[in-house]
């Protein structure tokens, strides 16, 4: 076990940083010609990667709340993913500056009919100053929790003992309701309000379900990628750790399907004029084929693959399924946000790719950068030994 602070990764940070700068620069160029498309593509990429950071933060809080001991060995990596949240606060600026290109409620003057009425009715909530103030609150809560949990954990590397474990557990458990509420309202603000008529109370959980699954997928891929590197957590995982990650992937694949179907069925069966147009566009037009593909690719196929015990215990194959899940999770958010811009059907743009790669590469660069200065495994945690011996049954 390497207790010295990690100092490597500068090459990966450099390459990912350069890719991020190039891809985000291209997206910015695209915004000059077609700001609506650029902003929408950017919004998909933003909520995709932000969701994964938040999913990791909520998982960290939940593991502390459960006093979980087996995941201690992978906890430092899990703590570091949400350290990218300050980056997302910065990446939120383009959205704040270009609000009017995506959110119709920003400039309601040109709207007519029921849309104008809906926007006028929701004015006390959907207005620019309150929208931005809420975003500030969300980021303050997220960054605060993420910062404290990791700081205490890193401090424990030096001092050891149980006191800091208790502190992390208290904050981890206490933060969960606040994380849940801020995540839910962020989903309402940044994705649901694109169509001001539409409302679904479960919408935040829908974003969470995909993002939480994404966080597990990132963990599984990182575990497989660092398997041969003695400095990193992947090297210390045994087959039972990998198996448990696989079980979580299976469980939350089913959870995503459960939530996605719950939202769909309630709206479909109630058939209310405010809600149902959202699904008419996404299931009726050529977007419906994307929806069917999601039901198969985001649920049926990964669910049956992940039933296999052998696959769940094989880091390489598990990482391949995880990569597939990350891919279809992007398609899921694309299907949620893009039909508002392209009502007639899917119209892929090169900016979808540059925004996704740009934000993703920035996320990766910042993540690796933030890994520096601390051990890659919580070496001061009293439960680390127990975690390394993990063998259920």
């Amino acid at each position: 076990m390497n207790a010295t602070p990690f100092q490597g990764g500068s090459r990966l940070t450099g390459i990912a940083g350069a890719v991020a700068a190039a891809a985000l620069g291209l997206t910015a160029l695209g915004a000059v010609g077609d700001p609506r498309q650029a902003l929408a593509s950017y919004l998909v990429a933003f909520v995709y990667w932000l969701g994964i950071a938040l999913g990791a933060l909520i998982l960290l809080g939940a593991l502390h709340a459960a006093k979980a001991r087996w995941p201690v060995v992978l906890r430092r990596f899990l703590e570091t993913i949400p350290q990218t949240l300050p980056l997302f606060a910065l990446l939120f600026l383009p959205i704040a500056l270009g609000l009017k290109h995506v959110f119709v409620w920003v400039e309601p003057a040109g709207l007519g009919g029921e849309l104008a009425q809906a926007v006028a009715h929701k004015r006390p909530y959907l207005n620019v100053p309150f929208f931005l103030a809420r975003a500030v609150v969300y980021f303050v809560v997220w960054i605060g929790v993420a910062h404290l949990l990791r700081r205490w954990s890193v401090q424990q590397d030096r001092v050891g003992g149980h006191a800091l474990t208790l502190r992390q557990r208290r904050l981890g458990a206490a933060s969960l309701p606040f994380l849940a509420l801020t995540l839910s309202f962020a989903a309402f603000d940044w994705m649901m309000s694109i169509d001001p008529r539409f409302y679904s109370t479960i919408f935040g959980v829908y974003w969470f379900a995909g993002s939480f699954l994404g966080a597990f997928a990132v963990l599984a891929i990182a575990a497989a990628a660092t398997r041969a590197l003695p400095d990193h957590f992947g090297h210390h995982l045994n087959a039972d750790h990998v198996h448990s990650l696989g079980k979580f992937l299976l469980a939350f694949t089913a959870f995503w399907a459960y939530i996605a179907f719950s939202q769909f069925m309630l709206i479909w069966i109630a058939n209310l004029p405010e809600e149902v147009p959202w699904y008419i566009v996404r299931t009726g037009s050529p977007w419906g084929r994307v929806g069917i593909f999601l039901a198969l690719g985001h649920f049926v196929v990964p669910f049956f693959l992940l039933l296999s015990r052998d696959l769940k215990r094989d880091p390489r194959r598990l990482a391949m399924v995880a990569a597939w899940l990350l891919l279809v999770h992007w398609l899921d958010l694309h299907w949620v946000i893009m039909p508002h811009v392209h009502q007639a059907g899917p119209a892929p743009s090169w900016m979808d790719l540059t925004a996704f790669v740009g934000v993703g590469a920035a996320f990766l660069a910042f993540l690796v950068f933030r890994m520096r200065g601390a051990a890659t495994v919580p070496v001061g945690d009293p439960y680390l030994e127990e975690s390394l011996r993990y063998q259920p049954q």
């Binding site: 179907f261 069925m265 479909w268 069966i269 058939n271 039933l307 015990r309 049954q393």
Partner: protein, 176 residues
């Protein structure tokens, strides 16, 4: 069918118990079992147990439940007695999913519950090895091995178990 007997042997510790199971399995005895009041780590490997078939039972019955749930609704409200619910067509797949899901879960759960009973040999309530008075300690503090043996080999197996360190060895005839 030739007569069979059970040889049961008590061991003082876990290691010789598992070693004895491995040794008997090496002699070609397949019908072995271990009895212990606490979980035995390594017992599956010592007995050469294969992966449990319970997950497969659950999968097959779960899929059967899904098919039953869907076909039942498809036939009842779609074909046999079409009902107009809020103007939706009789064959409305989304409305069928919750029952389909529930029946899948129910069948899988019942499959696990009853399948385990079947694998345990229930409703058989008595077993010849219960004839051994000392065997009762298997649910208190005794570590026991039982082997089903052809009548001809009983003496050899009993001798081998003693050689392997058994504290006591008993022979029970199978049959009425």
């Amino acid at each position: 069918m030739s007569a069979r007997a059970y040889v049961v042997a008590e061991f003082a510790a876990e290691a010789p118990l598992l070693a004895a199971a491995r040794a008997l399995r090496g002699r070609g005895l397949a019908d072995l079992d271990l009895h212990s009041p606490v979980p035995l780590h390594g017992a599956d490997e010592a007995l050469g147990l294969k992966r449990s078939v319970v997950p497969r039972i659950a999968l097959v019955l779960g899929l059967a439940g899904v098919a039953t749930g869907y076909v039942m609704q498809w036939w009842m409200v779609g074909v046999d007695f079409p009902i107009n619910v809020g103007g939706r067509p009789p064959q409305s797949a989304p409305a069928f999913i919750p029952i389909t899901f529930e029946l899948g879960i129910l069948f899988a759960a019942l499959g696990i519950f009853l399948g385990l009973f079947g694998l345990w040999g229930l409703p058989r309530l008595h077993h010849p090895v219960f004839e051994v008075e000392a065997f009762r300690s298997a649910s208190v503090d005794g570590l026991w091995l039982s082997a089903a043996v052809e009548a001809a080999g009983v003496a050899a197996v009993a001798a081998e178990l003693r050689a392997l360190g058994a504290r006591q060895v008993e022979i029970v005839e199978d049959g009425p």
